[in-house]
Symmetry: D2
Subunit: 283 residues, 4 copies
Amino acid sequence: MKKIGIIGKTGKREPAEMVKKLLPWLSKKKLEIYIDIETAGALRMEGTPRSQIPSLVDMIIVFGGDGTMISVARLVADKGVPILGVNIGGLGFLTAVQKDDLYEVLEKVLSGGCPVEERMMLNACVYRHSECIAENVVMNDVVVNKGALARIIDLEAYIDHTYVTTFKADGLIVSTPTGSTGYALSAGGPIVYPTLNSIILAPICPHTLTNRPTILPDHVQVEIMLRSGNEDVFLTLDGQVGFSLKQNDIIQVKKSQHSTRFFTPCEIDYFKILRTKLRWGER
Amino acid sequence: MKKIGIIGKTGKREPAEMVKKLLPWLSKKKLEIYIDIETAGALRMEGTPRSQIPSLVDMIIVFGGDGTMISVARLVADKGVPILGVNIGGLGFLTAVQKDDLYEVLEKVLSGGCPVEERMMLNACVYRHSECIAENVVMNDVVVNKGALARIIDLEAYIDHTYVTTFKADGLIVSTPTGSTGYALSAGGPIVYPTLNSIILAPICPHTLTNRPTILPDHVQVEIMLRSGNEDVFLTLDGQVGFSLKQNDIIQVKKSQHSTRFFTPCEIDYFKILRTKLRWGER
Amino acid sequence: MKKIGIIGKTGKREPAEMVKKLLPWLSKKKLEIYIDIETAGALRMEGTPRSQIPSLVDMIIVFGGDGTMISVARLVADKGVPILGVNIGGLGFLTAVQKDDLYEVLEKVLSGGCPVEERMMLNACVYRHSECIAENVVMNDVVVNKGALARIIDLEAYIDHTYVTTFKADGLIVSTPTGSTGYALSAGGPIVYPTLNSIILAPICPHTLTNRPTILPDHVQVEIMLRSGNEDVFLTLDGQVGFSLKQNDIIQVKKSQHSTRFFTPCEIDYFKILRTKLRWGER
Amino acid sequence: MKKIGIIGKTGKREPAEMVKKLLPWLSKKKLEIYIDIETAGALRMEGTPRSQIPSLVDMIIVFGGDGTMISVARLVADKGVPILGVNIGGLGFLTAVQKDDLYEVLEKVLSGGCPVEERMMLNACVYRHSECIAENVVMNDVVVNKGALARIIDLEAYIDHTYVTTFKADGLIVSTPTGSTGYALSAGGPIVYPTLNSIILAPICPHTLTNRPTILPDHVQVEIMLRSGNEDVFLTLDGQVGFSLKQNDIIQVKKSQHSTRFFTPCEIDYFKILRTKLRWGER
């Protein structure tokens, strides 16, 4: 670990403040540092474009929340560079390190003493007339969603080419275990342990009440065909990237060959995060 | 009951076929008949514009499904003309009369022997800069919904000017008891008996899992302020009419002074409809 | 308001401590005080049996939680004596007065300046061979529940003698609006505004997934017939009183002619209680 | 496949009737047949005790429903004998063969042309004072459940010795994927594909609304400590075997070393069963 990337949440002051304090500490360790342009700019330093950082470094420190972590995860997907998330607000599912513990955790990370957890990602392709016209890798979820003015839409689902059902719903979420505590949870899905090899299929406000969220093995291929025409329907990837769909488009989702690697400090376990974020122990 | 209006579902052949058989029967009763333009056209007769029918007749026979009934209900809201729904497909919540029972039921209706049920409606106003810029009466629901590409939106809710909470969700449904078996049911709401004097408030995919559907007395005024900016957010009325919202718009919803009057043949009760439509008695 | 009853939660020290401080304040007002035996005993005073207090006083101050409030509510049901709930732990749905606000609120109550809210209660009768063998009034809920070792049970439900369905479930909850934030909420029911004239019917873990909670007008009579034999099935009233049921027993539930009267200090509204108890504003 | 066991659902006539027709067909194949005592008795034949059948045969044909399949699965757990389920009523999740297809499927099974699916089972141990006082293998679920008159109970849960939370609930279900469409589904759990290597943890009517069902990898060990005293609490295994629990008992659940082997005729896939059993395609 000689070359360290630093990426901060955009539009926030805290990352720059935290990086300012961190730099002298890092420089003592004789590490090469690459800071994203916005954060560097706030410190009147020269920065590196976000998209170039992954190919230059051995690890990335992210100052932000889960949203920033997810966008960085997509950025490094094909590089396998491990990420350390430091939360600048409340505890996150992915930004497990608290500000105050940063130095202690970093010491452990740099000495190789901090375990790395592999999180599966999903690969989504949109097929139109048998051609893949858009392809993306996501950390959390692939969502097919109707526009606000659209009526209920028909989505024909297949698992490994076997017909499942035609969901009549506001939409359909295909989620990783990591994404299970995101949008899928709001749609009625379960909590899925982050390292369980699985894919979650959760309909959004389904007309058929027995269309419950379904948990599938991670080796299956999910295909969703948009049956409805004349309606605005969109694909969103990790809630951050959008794509307009047409009738008979097929969205093919399967486990990505890439996975994300997160440093997971031992001090905080998944259930502690759940207890805190979901206020377990309270009503 | 001397003047009868007839409205058929648009784009379907069945209404015209059923009206064709019905006309000779009605003419024997010496009734004045007003048929909507589309249905009349299919029978090569002269029709009456839908919007004019309510002010010309004593009752309306609707051939269609729940969607047609709801749009007719909005049409007659301020006239109080009772409606008889004849379903052309499967059993509906509002089109309780089966094709085969039509003549028997009509005999009862014309002789005054068929009870009429009053169903409350909701009045929705959109306030922008303290001015009501759009007003509508609905039979089922008033829905504030984010666009497909929008992120979670913030909706500040008030009941009789008392702050409730700020929902972080895909949207918010304000529903009548009649609407409780529609979109609100898909969003996790309960079944509300159609004549219970109440308003249902149901968040759509709320971020906060304890934001459960809430049932309010029908005399309250619900106000929803759209807090989010920079996002596409829409108001939809009965899933049929749409309206684009802006940041700080306030949607005020309260019981309408109008209500809809449905003929309810005694042969079929609400629970029988529930058992059939929701497949009770089966898993 | 000349005669004041005081009832404390059993098995707790706090009520006696709070009463000790309150007595001098009350004695200055020249009020007659009746304290329950346990609380009085802890203060080495002579007390009055709980069950006699309602017929001796003009109002009752309860030091405890929602459980104590509910048992006192059943106690005073046929007397109409208003109750003021002072919570000794966290905020309760019914014990809206905080320790620190007690004197200010009491001043208002004694001067007649504190509004009183009427809460409906339910009357439950168990009919065996056409005879009512047990009758009770409840504040929260009437629950038919299978024993732990029993298999799913069959409960035939009727509303005003009209057949609803035969629930295959762990049990069935018939709840008041007050009870909607209790057991019924855990079973998937909605939040019902406490003064809405309604009865909630919520199945517990129903086999049929479309058997959703149902909200009924408060003038209906609910009848539940236990169809299963050879299984342990019990009726519980407000979670506090139990009764063993036999095959073909009919549990008849309707609005009680009695209601409970709670003092409701203006400083705290129902939605504030919801926000606090259900952690709204947090995930 | 030379020795065939036959087990019928107890208390039903159909198994004997179906076996009567099947016997001549089987005898032509020169197979050795072992029929359970009850079914054999109905045919005035000598039978074999159910519990002895697994160690005598190469496969077992079960005539019954899912309940019979589950009890046979527990019976053969340590023998690995494959089971073919023939439903005598409606389609089952486990009895995938329809009466009319029996001979065609059997032909395939006997010729080795029918695939066998391995389904994981769970092993449950009750520890009292550090000693395992009861041990069982289950096909569907291990349930800790309060008695009908008991109040909410406290269940402290651990995953691989890491504290999860203390559930305040009616109980807790630990389920296999096979069991996910059973009791866990009624308690709000998701559908889990039967071959996904996972364990489902689903609280029953939890007081804390964010205590959502959780899906865990199958290699974890779940431990549940009963914290409540003075309440009737029971352990039930596959809904068929019961055991009374005491305060501080620990229920340890992990993947069993045994699994069940079901013949799965290719004609019917899991999603077809879901569509039929859960009435997908209908509301």
